[in-house]
Amino acid sequence: MQLGSLQEIIDQYIHDGQSVALEGFTHLIPFAAGHEILRQKKRDLHLIRMTPDLIYDQLIGVGCARALTFSWGGNPGVGSLHRLRDAVENDWPRPLEIHEHSHAGMAAAYTAGAARLSFGLLRGYVGTDLPGVNPQVREVRCPYTDEKIATVPAINPDVTVLHAQAADRQGNILIRGIVGAQKEAALAARTLIVTVEEIVESLDAPMNAIVLPHWVVTAIAEVPTGAYPSYALGYYARDNAFYLAWDEIARDRERFTEWIDRHVFSSRDHAEFLDSLAEAA
């Protein structure tokens, strides 16, 4: 486990063309890490995530992604991700290859990835058109009942990036609250990068808490408020107003580009990004 600045870590571990999962199911979304990927202008990424959120809208809108594996691509509680839509509908700023699942299918795929099985099983996709557009959704016959059961291939990202509440000095990571498929995405990855709200002497984790031991973590950066505008339970709330405002910002290509220039590209790190937003408000 390596402790470093987010800038160093993204530079060292995320490379053009890789498959990258910034997971977080409406909680602990690694926004700071996503912005650093934007700043470093990574290209041709295969982005993976159950719920591409605003941060994927930004990565796609800037043109960092060549492909997206996902199961629900909206602005949660608000509506569309306009940059994602523009990429799919109009190939702007570049075409985006999409690999589409249901949540259940993608959860099974991450689970298989974490367990290093080549595929996952689910009773799913029956009667839908999804297998028609995603040839990766297949089926096996149960060796006991002869039923057909849907299969999905394991997802094993080159890099998974998470945001968590805390790491201890050894690099053990504590994740609390709504955890989505973060643990599975973490354990499925070849490289695991974690940003944390703070580094503490001791996690004081309750028994049976969700702790990722230091020896499965590649690198950690301390980034306070690193999930903003998403939230970190116990630290700060979700900025719902930002999610609402994003709908307007992202609707228009120019306004989006200006916003990225002004707030992401013109800030050197996450603290400056937050300051620039606060100034604008």
Binding site: S102, L122, I178, E184
Partner: protein, 265 residues
């Protein structure tokens, strides 16, 4: 009014898988009125959540803090939904057809759609495994269509028993609630049939808002107007929600909290 109509159909003790928007409002309205012991499950992992305010997203902190258990998303979909533990699932859609099949994926062709919608999320498997489904959506000829542009979630497929023949575990959409009326599947064909309308909405208006020749029940009920209690609870819920969501997160960060490491790394 969709919210109130939907809430009324929820029964005490019901284990309900909830999405954001009208379903969440309806389920919480039911919980705060006639079904206090119902169990709310959000796909984000909260089991038995009792939010004091309506979540804006499916994974708000409120849902974790008030839950009996908070589990991972793979667990929600395997041990809870797929295992058949959900009595009632709510689904919305951009398009519905006469057999209750739903589209939340694209308008137009898949490869180069006219409108790319958010996609499937939990819906395809909720549609299969919840013991029954309520569908809530706004009704117009653009949403009530003869043929879906894409089938995201199975209703009764081609009807006439096809769902049962394919041995799908759940019973499928039992009620469709729109801003104009309420629909239920016919016993034999499973074709959606108008069974109730709101006051001041004519059957003709509903027929015109439907993209296929609509089946009409012999007796059309009128949905009762909201009671004072329903309106009060719903207003209070929305008010609490507004206040809770109005906090200025970015500025509150400026109040002193240690942004530096506790460790001299």
């Amino acid at each position: 009014m969709m919210t109130i109509a939907a809430a009324r159909l929820i029964w005490p003790g019901c284990v309900c898988f909830v999405g954001i928007g009208v379903p969440s409002a309806a389920a919480n309205l039911a919980r705060l009125t006639h079904a206090p012991d119902m169990v709310l499950i959000y796909e984000s992992g909260g089991i038995g959540t009792q939010p004091r305010v309506l979540p804006l997203s499916i994974g708000d902190g409120e849902l974790a803090e008030t839950a009996t258990a908070v589990v991972s998303l793979p667990e929600i979909f395997s041990y809870w939904l797929q295992a058949g533990r959900i009595d009632l699932g709510f689904l919305g859609a951009a398009q519905i057809d006469r057999f209750g099949n739903l589209n939340t994926t694209v308008i137009g062709g898949y490869a180069k759609p006219k409108t790319r919608l958010p996609g499937a999320g939990g819906a395809p498997e909720i549609a299969l495994h919840a013991k029954q489904i309520f569908v809530v959506l706004k009704q117009s000829p653009r949403s009530f269509v003869a043929k879906l542009d894409f089938c995201t979630s199975a209703g009764f497929l081609n009807g006439h028993g096809e769902r049962a023949r394919r041995a799908i575990a759940g019973a499928g959409p039992q009620v469709v609630i729109t801003d104009l009326g309420v629909f239920k599947p016919a016993a034999d064909s499973q074709e959606l049939t108008l069974v109730a309308r709101y006051e001041n909405v004519s059957v003709d208006k509903i027929r015109q808002a439907t993209g296929w020749p609509l089946a009409i029940a012999d007796n059309i009920d009128v949905v009762a107007t909201p009671t004072a209690d329903e309106l009060r609870v719903l207003r209070d819920l929305h008010k609490r929600t507004e206040i809770a969501h109005a906090g200025d997160v970015l500025r509150s960060r400026k109040t002193p909290r240690p942004l530096t490491s506790q460790v001299n790394a």
